[in-house]
Symmetry: C3
Subunit: 346 residues, 3 copies
């Protein structure tokens, strides 16, 4: 019997199986600095002495912890829902993750199936810090059919997180001197489009260092031979690079609080250059201090999109909406934003 | 109206305009480690438990903070003067920057102008940690002339920092066991030339990680498409790599304290290999413990310079002095150096 | 007289010469994070809030400190013996190194010689943290023969570290939830072979950042021009990447405690992809909590080895055993492993 793990295949999952995911990891100042160095993020909240950890660091840490048991044999990451950050994470907090199988559907080709996984990250006090549902297509080990071919179990998932579910731990708005931004919640309107202007080329070491940092061991990101010279860039990188680019135009943001859904529409490889656009989908006043913006982050590779860029177009033959081949990420999320106060610059 | 910033053009500057530069950033142990990993610096002062931050980390942090408002639309970085480090910076200090326009001169082609900017970095106690004047050529947005075409205002700048202006906070000389060096202030003479021997090839990820680390968002460093496949290496990299290489021959140095002037004589791109030479320009005894060396750091790309290498040569046709096309940096700076004591090795 | 050091040649060494190696360096959280980001190591012991530093970080730090005086003019690193970790190292400890020449043998070609060097790393309390003997082939400066041509002095070195010499500072076994592993000391048998499955491609920036991090200044790793475009990857990288890969199958390991010997059988260059196998050479029960596994770590480049891969084969002509050209590391070491307890998963 071999000692190494070949991880789980579709057949290894049952409804209700709960995985305790190795390896718990403390997050430190070094994680804040590495994140800046790898993404270029300039959000002031994660650069000050109070040690707040960027929510996307928490996301990558938790997701990386699930790879060994959930997605090492995945074919594709299909979607996210109900993703919310809970307790804020600070330097010195140690993060561990649990993942529960909540839905299973075998594909008709009997070679793979879709696993719905509810994942929760916790800090050292067992406070939840992040939770989400994710569905991934996972290889089967053998062709013999499972009960989930004829009787799939698909969980109900909310189409979006509700604004009143967003975590709003009191947090000082960065000053406009610190953010460099002159726009506040009240200045954004549904339908606004923001071109974030910058392009960022992803090099081999950039993406491998980032992916190793979060102890994500999915082979497809690291092995140039197994991937014919083109290791796949971890899908978290366009999320983080796009969010970093989106600072330009959203400078007074208070932190991503939820992801309603997202698609990794096309793959990214080393050498690709990423550009980002944001659409304002919805605005929701929360209180006198804070509002929530529902934003669509569109990350495009290898051509700078114009402000009227449409990520999806109707296929000429079928009429079906399809992603432009340059779109690598289409992310629907909630961002908190401070409200305009007397004396704020315009 | 768009929400994203397209930064400032020459027309946006007026004499006396003071910019508060985002994003303030705390410097930590992780910044010390990242700097070593990216430059190979071996100066003992920045490797001990006392948490002293390398002066060049402070420089890159402050300069990076000015990019958004001052140099995002720059054509070229033309020069530095009166650059001095003040209060030493330690792990945990948070750095913010102010930049004031002190001179403006529109170019006769009406497409750009030169902005003279006095920049000061502060710690969280509002102690200045670094100040300098820099002049950059910045694009104009439209061709309409400004008052600075006919009436340029050019500030008086000192040709060099005076030795008695150098910050000399008491600091223990590293032991020769710790530095590995056997030369002290008293061993260096004006005219000495030091070949630092080592070559360092700059790869794509090396320079982009370094530049993002200091939240320098100038597009030309990151976007391979906009730069026809050759992103420009941030000019701070030859400064830091050259200074790191200069450890070999200046091991007992106590820290760069001022920059009198500098030229980024030719561009650096990924794949270039950097070599360094130092010339001793001047020696100045400060007290019984410490002296100041005025040094010229010459960084050359893609050919190892011999000890008699001349960075500038007279053009055969015009007789005008021109930089050798291999020279990427010509930096004139003051370094403190401990003085020889009885018992020191020779 | 030049100020820069050209380091030591074979003639500069005498039996008993003791070198104090610059630059002492404090190890911090940032070193833990950088190590994870560069190797992908997932061992839980080095990810928790107690600040334990990975033994291989200590190894690279100490070895890097010896380069300037011992191996800058080395032709090849020939072997290690009697390598043991002593006091554990924690975040905040400052490491310095001493190296003593204990053997010398000039080669018959008079152009080089072998130096046997006993190296010890210490923490700030002068507790030893690592010690080993290493022998390197070092260039001579001139051809004139030394006394070590006719009278070589070769030290006695133990063929292996004894299990009872292994440092066993009490340390909690990671829980199986934290490690993800279900195998314990008692499950491993001499002759077991483990295929660690993963491949890791080494890019230019990956290896240069890693090597600079440990202030290893050997030129051959950094200068693409001097190496005809193929800088040599530091031999510590296959050690660390292989050890990180070996987590899969050895999840409950308690830390590498000794290296009995090792060969860098073939060079690694940027673009090479590394795979790893482990053979269990010996098992030794130490007490009711802990056992020691003597393991052979075989790292292979550019082809995924099968479980029956033989790193050495008899040459068809000479009958002499030779390394397969794909083998880059053959390392014989002692690992501690927790023992199976009632209730442990199977």
């Amino acid at each position: 019997m071999t000692k190494q793990s070949i991880s789980n295949y579709f057949e290894n999952f049952s409804i209700g199986t709960l995985f305790h995911c190795p390896t718990p990891r403390v997050l430190t100042d070094a994680d804040r600095v590495a994140y800046i160095a790898l993404t270029g993020d300039r959000s002031p909240l994660y650069c000050t002495t109070d040690g707040l950890i960027h929510p996307l660091i928490v996301f990558h840490t938790v997701l990386g912890q699930t790879v060994r048991q959930i997605s090492l044999n995945a074919v594709a990451n299909l979607g996210y829902a109900e993703l919310r950050w809970h307790h804020p994470v600070f330097v010195g907090d140690q993060i561990r993750t649990e993942a529960e199988i909540v839905g299973l559907k075998e594909n008709s080709n009997r070679r793979s199936g879709i696993a719905y996984v509810r994942t929760t990250g916790y800090n050292q006090n067992n406070d939840p810090v992040l939770s989400y549902a994710r569905w991934v297509m996972v290889r089967k080990k053998v062709e013999a059919e499972t009960e989930y071919l004829s009787s799939p179990l698909i969980p109900d998932l909310a189409p979006s997180v509700l604004p009143n579910e967003l975590e709003r731990t009191a947090k000082s708005r960065p000053t406009t001197e610190n953010s460099g931004g002159i726009h506040f919640f009240d200045d954004y309107k549904t339908g606004d489009r923001i071109d974030h202007e910058d392009g960022m080329t992803i090099n081999h070491s950039d993406h491998m260092i980032f992916t190793r940092l979060y102890q994500n061991s999915a082979r497809v990101h690291f092995d140039a031979i197994a991937t014919d010279g083109t290791p796949l860039v971890y899908g978290g990188i366009p999320i983080s690079v796009g969010y970093a680019q989106a600072f330009n135009g959203l400078e007074n943001r208070l932190g991503i609080r939820a992801i309603n859904g997202g698609a990794h529409a096309n793959p990214v490889h080393a050498g690709d250059t990423l550009y980002s656009l944001s659409h304002v989908l919805e605005t929701k006043e929360l209180d006198t201090q804070t509002g929530a913006l529902r934003l669509r982050l569109i990350v495009v590779k290898n051509k700078k999109p114009t402000a009227d860029f449409l990520p999806k177009k109707a296929d000429q033959e079928t009429g079906k909406e399809r992603y432009d081949p340059g779109v690598v990420l289409d992310l629907d999320y909630w961002e908190l934003m401070g409200r305009r106060k007397p004396g704020d610059p315009t």
